[in-house]
């Protein structure tokens, strides 16, 4: 979970990493500016880079200028994000910029610190041009960072003299934050040496492992809760988020995808495209979805006017076919959906699930006339091809499913 710059800096400040003095302002809290020391930099709080070029980082010499900037910046759309808050920070005079980050190397399965004598610029470009200037320091999981390691890093990127102790402490604190708050990334770029010999984290990026937030109650105290913020959400995505369902709308699709876990969800989209169909969404049921969740998932697809047909698949593992069948049947009885549903069911409790469908078809033949249920004996690709045909309104009358 990504933090906003101002959230990351708040965490930094609480845990020993110095940042420029600043206040966070939105349309309702302009008065916070009274605490600012001018000149300031007004920075839009969005996850996307390129803020400078987009005019979302501006200098102000006094309160009036700052208000002017804020009024212009708030509400602007930057990539998929609307700017809602700005960080108003005391302007610092930078003498030298460095790059510092802690992250996880999934090749080595180790945390590492990345440091570079150059910062504030496009570090990926530097990495390509001069690989040697990008320094990496690996750590064993569970081991702390030693003071001497922090000093070594400081010396390696060219921080000496009075600033060395500051730098070493900052590196240690940043790595501790990375570990103690279960981060996937802590990035300071630039780490700036000011003209009065102070080291400050002028920009801050933190990405936290959501799965570990339970042990970091301090985040909640700071008002940082689990959330999704990959991009701007569509109305349907927002609804899915509230329901706790990972869901992404895919543009121009007409086949609603109602899969089991995330892995098959990804495969299903590929397969639909492979057969020249148009998937309308990505969705993940999670490990063992409740019947309520399954019905909510179906509802998202049925309610989508672009969806012409629904492709469903359940391979019963930890979540059982009979539970899945019950959920689907109940949804159909309750909501009388007017869309064709083409589904395949296999695995744990397949037999029991099949019986539930058979009973429902017997009891409500009208409601289930456009619903086809395939068994483990039909390859999934055949079911997908059938769904695509139906979505194109050319149903093959000979294909009636396996029930």
């Amino acid at each position: 979970m990504r933090l906003y710059e101002y959230e990351a800096k708040k965490l930094f400040k609480r845990h020993g990493v110095s940042v420029p003095d600043g206040v966070i302002v939105d349309k309702t809290t302009i008065d916070e500016l009274n605490k600012a020391v001018f000149p300031v930099v007004v920075k839009a709080q969005v996850f996307l880079g390129g803020r400078g070029k987009a005019g979302l980082v501006r200098t102000a010499n006094n309160k009036d200028e700052a208000i002017d900037h804020i009024n212009k910046i708030i509400g602007i759309k930057h990539g998929p994000f609307f700017v809602q808050k700005v960080l108003v920070e005391r302007k610092v005079n930078i003498k030298k910029e460095y790059y510092l980050a802690a992250t996880i190397d999934r090749l080595e399965h180790k945390p590492l610190i990345i440091a570079c004598p150059e910062g504030g610029v496009d570090i990926e470009e530097i990495a390509k041009k001069n690989k040697k200037s990008i320094l990496k320091y690996y750590f064993n999981p569970g081991h702390k960072i030693h003071e001497f390691t922090a000093r070594k890093i400081a010396a390696d990127i060219g921080i000496h003299g009075q600033a060395m102790d500051q730098a070493a402490k900052m590196i240690q604190h940043a790595y501790r934050i990375f570990i103690e708050f279960d981060c996937k990334l802590v990035e300071i770029n630039p780490l700036a040496l000011t003209d009065n010999a102070q080291l400050l984290a002028v920009d801050a990026k933190i990405d936290i492992d959501e799965d570990a937030m339970f042990r970091n109650p301090e985040l909640k105290e700071m008002g940082i809760f689990a959330r999704h913020e990959i991009g701007e959400l569509t109305e349907r995505e927002k609804k899915a988020k509230i329901l706790g369902i990972p869901y992404v709308d895919l543009e121009g699709g007409d086949i609603g995808v109602f899969p089991g876990g995330a892995g098959f969800g990804i495969a299903a989209i590929d397969l639909i495209q492979h057969y020249n169909g148009k998937p309308a969404n990505f969705m993940d049921s999670g490990g063992a979805p409740t019947q309520e969740k399954l019905r909510a998932m179906l509802g998202l697809l049925i309610d989508n006017p672009d969806v012409k047909a629904i492709f469903g698949a359940r391979f019963g593992g930890i979540s059982r076919c009979d539970d899945w069948a019950k959920a689907v049947v109940q949804y159909v009885i309750d909501n009388e959906p007017q869309k064709p549903m083409i589904m395949r069911m296999a695995g744990n409790m397949e037999e029991e699930g099949r019986k539930i469908f058979e009973q429902a078809i017997k009891d409500y033949p009208e409601l289930f006339k456009d619903i086809k249920i395939y068994s483990v004996n039909t390859p999934i690709e055949k079911v997908i091809e059938e769904t695509i045909r139906i979505a194109r309104s050319i149903p093959d009358k000979n294909t009636q499913g396996d029930l």
């Binding site: 990926e124 999981p141 990405d207 990959i230 892995g263 098959f264 990804i266 495209q273 695995g347 690709e381």
Partner: protein, 291 residues
């Protein structure tokens, strides 16, 4: 033979008193898995599906010193400790069903296991099955048939579809391994490919990867050295791309992680690339018969 688990493997269930664990303990026993004990701290003395529950793994080992495998079903916040406990007890194969284990926990447990030469499968794995012999985990057993194809996949459901597809064409599996869906895994593709390469009862391997992570790319050089054919199926070609925060990830992992980069790395090292589940059996047949 088969890899990791067979009909003789004595195994335990950590977190056996949980609802799911208890249910799948029943399934595992029915399938033939030799479950000799279960563990739930503080619940020692209970019985689940006629399996005796102990407070600690050590107590199980004291009773059955030749326990060779365990599966872990505890909630995510206890998973790291459960893995460490199994590693400490010297259990050779640890199958971690638990999903969404904190990343730093998994790095720590993984390093411990690696140091002691212990194989950890998962987290978030549906398990490991050697069809007709034994199952550790919650794979739907009816999907798998005994045979001579090894399969290894990251996603649970994809593992089922792979087997389903092979079986419909008359093939069966020596062992099917779910690597697991968590971002940091114990065993990766290379580890399992090595096992299959050395297993006399496996003729070919089907691996299924997906967008994200680097495990497919990491395995590619080893595939180049293998004698047995590897058929690879990579999903996520059409998936929406997440954006990285910051630059550190790019510095460490470069361009790895896309379906394209994976397919290219695998193909360059001799893996046969499949586009659908259905075409996999035919690719296997061709690879084995040479035409």
């Amino acid at each position: 033979m088969s890899i990791l688990v067979n009909e003789k493997t004595k195994t335990i269930v950590q977190g056996i008193t949980g609802k799911n664990a208890a249910l799948h303990t029943k399934f595992m026993i029915e399938y033939g898995t030799r479950i000799v004990a279960g563990v739930t701290p503080g619940k020692g003395g209970m019985e689940i599906e006629k399996v005796m529950v102990y407070d600690t793994v050590k107590e199980c080992m004291d009773k059955y010193p030749d326990i060779a495998a365990t599966s872990i079903w505890v909630p995510p916040r206890f998973a790291c400790d459960a893995i460490l406990e199994a590693v400490d007890a010297g259990i050779k194969t640890i199958v971690v069903i638990t999903e969404r284990i904190p990343i730093h926990d998994m790095l720590y447990a993984r390093a411990w296991a690696k140091e002691k030469g212990i194989t950890v499968i998962g987290g978030n794995t549906p398990g490991v099955i050697s069809p007709g012999k034994a199952l550790i985990g919650m794979l739907p057993t009816i999907t798998f048939k005994p045979g001579r194809i090894g399969t290894v996949a990251r996603s649970g459901a994809v593992t089922y579809y792979l087997a389903n597809s092979l079986n419909l064409a008359g093939f069966g599996e020596s062992t099917s391994v779910g690597l697991g869906g968590d971002p940091i895994l114990g065993a990766n593709f290379e580890d399992i490919l090595r096992e299959f390469e050395n297993d006399p009862d496996t003729d070919a391997v089907v691996m299924a990867g997906e967008i994200g992570g680097v495990y497919e790319e990491l395995a590619a050089p080893y595939i180049g050295k293998m004698k047995k054919p590897v058929i690879a199926y990579i999903t996520g070609k059409a998936a929406p791309q997440g954006k990285r925060l910051g630059h550190a990830g790019a510095i460490v992992e470069g361009n790895m992680g896309t379906a394209k980069s994976k397919i290219e790395a695998l193909r360059a090292n001799g893996a046969i690339i499949a586009e659908t589940f259905s075409e996999i059996p035919e690719l296997v047949r061709k690879a084995l018969t040479g035409n």
